[in-house]
């Protein structure tokens, strides 16, 4: 399935760390090279052909993103440096001026650091209260969401899909509840937008954050989606060129309207163009197709994994392309080092969700995260290597 579009796969490599970042198809790389070799110019500046072309290409991507997540208007799409940047802007550009001491924000212990630390920082700065929705078997249930809501809850901020277990949160139901209760819903889409259809309107999401590099695109660029009325009130965290309409020595400043107001400075033009090419590529395959295929890969893995002794799988029932496992009695990092010997890339660790270990009882796991270019043959190879794990320490300690 399209493997030939990914030059890196010509090497002897099995890449199962797509939760960290994905491989890039040649068309994405080419689109950036094209900008750098054939029409380099700044955006929003020029009166000459190349500059106009850049403007057009850059703004075209905004439209692609808008359609991709089904936003209402281009003004709701802000280019950022990635999910982390987007989440920080939500917290410090919007929440900081709209929440007050004692207001509560609900998150969970399975969130990525990027959806925890900004909130904890804001807690210190202005005295909001960060509370954790209790997890039921590591999962978010509607019952626990409802139970956690008090008069003081103003925001719920959750990953749509977690990077630790790959579980999918009932965002549509939570979105509905948030509407009823006048609570803002912030969704960290870093692990969902690349793998399934995410429709901000259907899910009633107020703010959404995601990164291009986890969905075939380049590093250094991502998206902040916000409902227009919310973004209108968002304070820029950066001030400078490109976002002001006029200013005078008297101190009078007028800022541009959305989205430019929130994109100060020269943007990552090549990266935005690369992200556009990535979205085109994904849409051509189809997000539903990608989602279905990843689930199929996981089922296949689970079936095959029965042949392997001592394999502990922590999330067999979760329908996504992510598998958290350990070889019983082997530290996760040693397993990853062993697999690396066979050019199989998996991630060991606590996956930046450090407080989850308080609940999960296992501190570290190995994580396999599939993408559509992975194959059943690759899984077969992984299974063979896992079956031979009696050699593990021979390899790890040499």
């Amino acid at each position: 399935m399209k493997r030939e579009d990914f030059p890196i796969l010509k090497n002897d490599l099995i890449y199962f760390d797509n939760g960290a970042t994905t491989l890039k198809p040649q068309v994405v790389v080419d689109s950036m090279i094209d900008y750098y070799t054939n029409y380099t110019a700044n955006a929003h500046r020029g009166d000459y052909d190349n500059s106009l072309k850049v403007d057009m290409k850059y703004e075209e991507v905004r439209t692609k993103v808008k359609n991709f997540i089904h936003a209402k208007s281009e003004r709701e799409i802000i280019f950022t440096s990635g999910a982390t940047d987007s989440l920080n802007r939500i917290v410090f550009g919007y929440m900081k001026t709209h929440l007050k001491q004692g207001d509560e924000v609900l998150i969970t212990k399975a969130e990525h650091a990027s959806n925890v630390l900004p909130w904890l920082e804001l807690e210190k700065e202005i005295g909001i209260v960060v509370r954790y929705i209790p997890l039921e078997n590591h999962l978010v249930t509607m019952e626990n969401v409802e139970k956690s809501i008090t008069e003081k809850v103003k925001v719920i901020s959750l990953a749509h899909v977690t990077n630790v277990l790959g579980d999918i949160r009932p965002i549509a139901e939570i979105g509905k509840l948030c509407q009823e209760k006048n609570i803002l819903l912030v969704v960290d889409g870093a692990q969902s937008v690349p793998h399934r259809k995410v429709d901000v309107e259907e899910l009633e999401i107020d703010f959404l954050a995601f990164s291009a590099h986890k969905m075939l695109g380049p590093t250094g660029v991502g998206v902040l989606y916000g409902k227009e009325n919310l973004l209108e009130e968002m304070k820029p965290l950066e001030f400078g060129g490109g976002m002001n309409a006029s200013f005078a020595s008297s101190g009078e400043v007028e800022y541009k309207s959305l989205p430019s107001r929130l994109e100060a400075g020269t943007p990552p033009i090549a990266e935005v163009i690369g992200m556009g090419a990535a979205i085109d590529y994904l849409e051509e395959i189809g997000m539903d197709q990608i989602h279905r295929y990843e689930i199929e890969l996981k089922k296949y893995f689970l079936e095959k994994a029965k042949e392997v002794d001592k394999l502990v799988i922590y999330n067999p029932d979760i329908e996504s392309g992510l598998i958290a496992f350990n070889i019983d009695g082997v530290f996760s990092q040693d397993t990853a080092v062993y697999l690396n010997h066979y050019h199989i890339c998996v991630r060991a660790g606590n996956h930046c969700a450090k407080i989850l270990k308080e609940d999960l009882f296992v501190k570290n796991t190995c994580r396999i995260s599939f993408y559509f270019y992975n194959t059943k043959e690759e899984i077969d190879q992984l299974i063979t290597v896992l079956k031979n794990a009696k050699d593990l320490f021979q390899i790890v300690l040499s």
Binding site: F331, S332, Q333, D334, V337, A348, G349, N350, K354, K363, N364, F393, Q394, V396, L397, S398
Partner: protein, 143 residues
């Protein structure tokens, strides 16, 4: 050394490490070694008496290299003065950084002489020594 024998010794230290298990005792200095990779997580506690390393204990979750290195470090350090131990530390650092070092001082720690070829594992082999450095600092501060 024969690679198979070397692996055997390391594996033995990993599976049956020396001085495993912490004690409740205020005479010990306890240090946690969450290394940069944020995976290995060991508590190592040191009892220093009259400038000598009287006891070291450890517990926690870590990879085979970090755990075996901790066990071997403990065997090497026990009974040594802080000066002797810091000389060992210095030579061990030199070995990991591919500089000149005195083999004779290192004992089984020499088993990690090839680890510099695997930069990602070097940190693991160094992990227990990070904690010992903190002990040295705290001793210096307390005069």
């Amino acid at each position: 050394m024969d690679p198979a024998l070397k692996r055997q010794i390391l594996l033995e230290h990993y599976q049956n490490p020396s001085h495993h298990g912490l004690v409740e005792n205020r005479d010990y200095i306890k240090i946690n070694t969450n290394n940069e990779s944020c995976i290995d997580n060991l508590d190592i506690m040191y009892k220093i008496e009259d400038g000598k390393i009287a006891d070291i204990r450890f517990d926690g979750e870590a990879c085979a290299i970090s755990t075996s290195a901790t066990s071997i470090m403990i065997d090497t350090f026990l009974g040594k003065t802080l000066e002797e131990a810091s000389e060992i530390l210095e030579n061990y650092e030199n070995m990991l950084n591919e500089k000149e070092y005195d083999e004779k001082l290192l004992g089984d720690l020499k088993l990690y002489c090839d680890i510099s070829k695997q930069p990602n594992r070097k940190k693991c082999a160094y992990l227990p020594f990070e904690s010992f450095k903190k002990v040295l600092e705290s001793q210096r501060r307390n005069g």
